[in-house]
């Protein structure tokens, strides 16, 4: 009988294979070794929020929404942009495409939020090593959460056993079998939108209105978006809410004294600042390492010059509550 570790290895390998197949001409991921992470504990939130920053109106708050042709591709017909966004918003709410938000408490006898964080942190390293798209990483995590939501009997390995995950510890036939099980379990519903799906659109609107170098908002947005994957608490938010909150926080980090939410962002995302508050505050805690401090891969990745060292950008220790009031 196979060990729990072997079963989990196959599941993770198969999930990465499933996602990679949707990005052809890309090298397949082989699972590398995990460092010994048995003593990790998610750090408690410290630093009660104090409010010192004065709220200033965003000078761009009432600028008209950018036209659709700003969305980064001359070949994307503007008339489809809002159709696609509307459809993705509708799609992200479909039960079959979402993990059960409290699946760990409800079903999993062995998986804990910390263990999930360890796995995601490691997947970030895998994605970095094989130069995979951000979408691939987000989809992988989404598939894992959905798979574990509907497969309570899947026994994952203990944190100790993660250490023994190395290349070639399973054969292809086992991975193929696991892939089939995953596809069957998810009923081939593989097309769910993720945080990165929405991030692109919101980042374009944000940088267009603010006249910021697009890459800074994009890199910072990708960084905070990947931090959100580490936190099991973020599962309760729709991907579009997380993406909107990511942009809100990214803009706050770059211009802490200017209201981050413009009418353009409000219009294109459909969210008011008050609706983002809870998620923004969680992301802010993640950014300041008040949550998930022990997971290093994402933070290390975004300290590189390649990503404009966005992980080193300072931020005030709190977000003024007036930023969450409607303008």
């Amino acid at each position: 009988m196979e060990t729990r570790a072997a079963a989990k290895r196959k599941a993770n390998a198969a999930i990465v294979v499933v996602v990679e197949k949707q990005h052809p001409k890309r090298q397949r991921v082989v699972l590398g070794e995990l460092p010994n992470l048995q003593n990790l504990i998610v750090s408690k939130i410290q630093n009660p929020r104090k409010e010192k920053l004065q709220c200033r109106k965003n000078p761009n708050a009432n600028k008209p929404s950018p036209t659709n042709n700003t969305l980064s591709s001359p070949q994307l017909d503007g008339s489809y942009v809002s159709d696609i966004h509307e459809y993705l918003r509708e799609m992200e709410m479909q039960k079959k495409r979402r993990p059960m938000v409290n699946y760990i408490e409800k079903f999993q006898k062995i998986v804990t939020p910390t263990m999930r964080g360890i796995l995601v942190d490691w997947l970030v390293e895998v994605a970095e090593e094989y130069k995979l798209l951000s979408d691939t990483l987000h989809l992988s995590v989404s598939y894992i959460d959905r798979f574990l939501s509907v497969n309570p009997e899947t026994d994952p390995p203990s944190v100790d056993e993660f250490c023994s995950i190395t290349d070639n510890t399973y054969d292809k036939a086992e991975v193929v079998k696991m892939e089939a099980d995953i596809l069957k379990s998810l009923k081939f519903e593989m097309g769910n939108p993720t945080v990165s799906t929405f991030l692109r659109r919101y980042a374009n609107v944000a940088s267009d209105v603010q006249k910021t170098p697009n890459s800074q908002i994009e890199h910072l947005g990708s960084y905070i978006g990947e931090l959100s994957l580490l936190d099991y608490d973020c599962l309760r938010f729709l991907p579009s809410i997380v993406a909107a909150s990511v942009i809100f926080l990214a803009k706050f980090i770059i211009w802490p004294e200017v209201h981050p939410w413009t009418s353009s962002l409000c219009e294109c995302s459909g969210y008011k600042p008050a609706e983002l508050k809870e998620c923004v505050l969680i992301l802010h805690d993640l950014y300041l390492s008040r949550k998930a401090a022990s997971f290093k891969a994402v933070r290390e990745k975004y300290k590189h010059q390649k990503f404009k060292c966005v992980a080193n950008l300072p931020t005030p220790p709190y977000v003024p509550s007036c930023y969450f009031e409607d303008q």
């Binding site: 197949k21 969305l71 980064s72 070949q75 942009v81 991975v175």
Partner: protein, 317 residues
Amino acid sequence: MEMEKTGAGVAVLSAKEAFEKLEKVGEGTYGKVYRAREKATGKIVALKKTRLHEDQEGVPPTTLREVSILRMLSRDPHVVRLMDVKQGQNKEGKTVLYLVFEYMDTDLKKFIRSFRQTGQSIPPQTIKSLMYQLCKGIAFCHGHGILHRDLKPHNLLMDRKTMMLKIADLGLARAFTVPIKKYTHEILTLWYRAPEVLLGATHYSMAVDIWSVGCIFAELVTKQALFAGDSELQQLLHIFRLLGTPNEEVWPGVSKLKDWHEYPQWNPKSLSTAVPGLDELGLDLLSQMLEYEPSKRISAKKAMEHAYFNDLDKGHL
């Protein structure tokens, strides 16, 4: 009897037990397509069989994309309906996947061929109806963020009785996001391939599907492929001979595309020379579908509003 369990714990018939294969109707890259009868209901379906363990690589990427995309699109009347996905085993005990589709009795390639063989023209109103359905189906795909990338008459299924047209074979389809990622350009059957793809563009979008729709439109009228090249270079030259060799003036950025070279210089000809028999409104729509500059090419959504379709009864389509 061979049974398999569903997630809900209900026993369901395996593919072998549930269907009776009637005849092989085609063969694709990853397996055969059969006309089959569902034993429980007597309903005729198309079974697309996919070999899984061929090279130990698991579910082929085309199957994975096709199924997940059809899961999103199958509710549209102009996209072929995926009714079920079943797992089974072949004679050697290898796992096979069966995609169960609604059965359509012909495709546009066979339909055009039947008119060519009898020397008859396809009635203009039939062409109009088929084109409207095609634009409607493609607009639905594009509005849901899906590029087909392999539109050709063979991939457009039809029901002879109702003249209903449905888009099929989404194995090369791609769900796109904003902005567009770099895509591979080794896609799409040569004759229906857009010039930007032939010239090596890796950033492309729904305009590639519209070019294919334009080529299909012309083929419905003449019963011959509009641009029938036998290599990428020949394909480009066929296009240039009719539409003129593009330059920076008509298509800004064309000379910077990866595979751009100095080509023979041709002046554009009137489309009516290549597609005689198409009325003025039809030629206007066709010219907008065959615009060189992708961003200027008409969208499927806008095409549906074109005056060419004004006299069409759209109620039942």
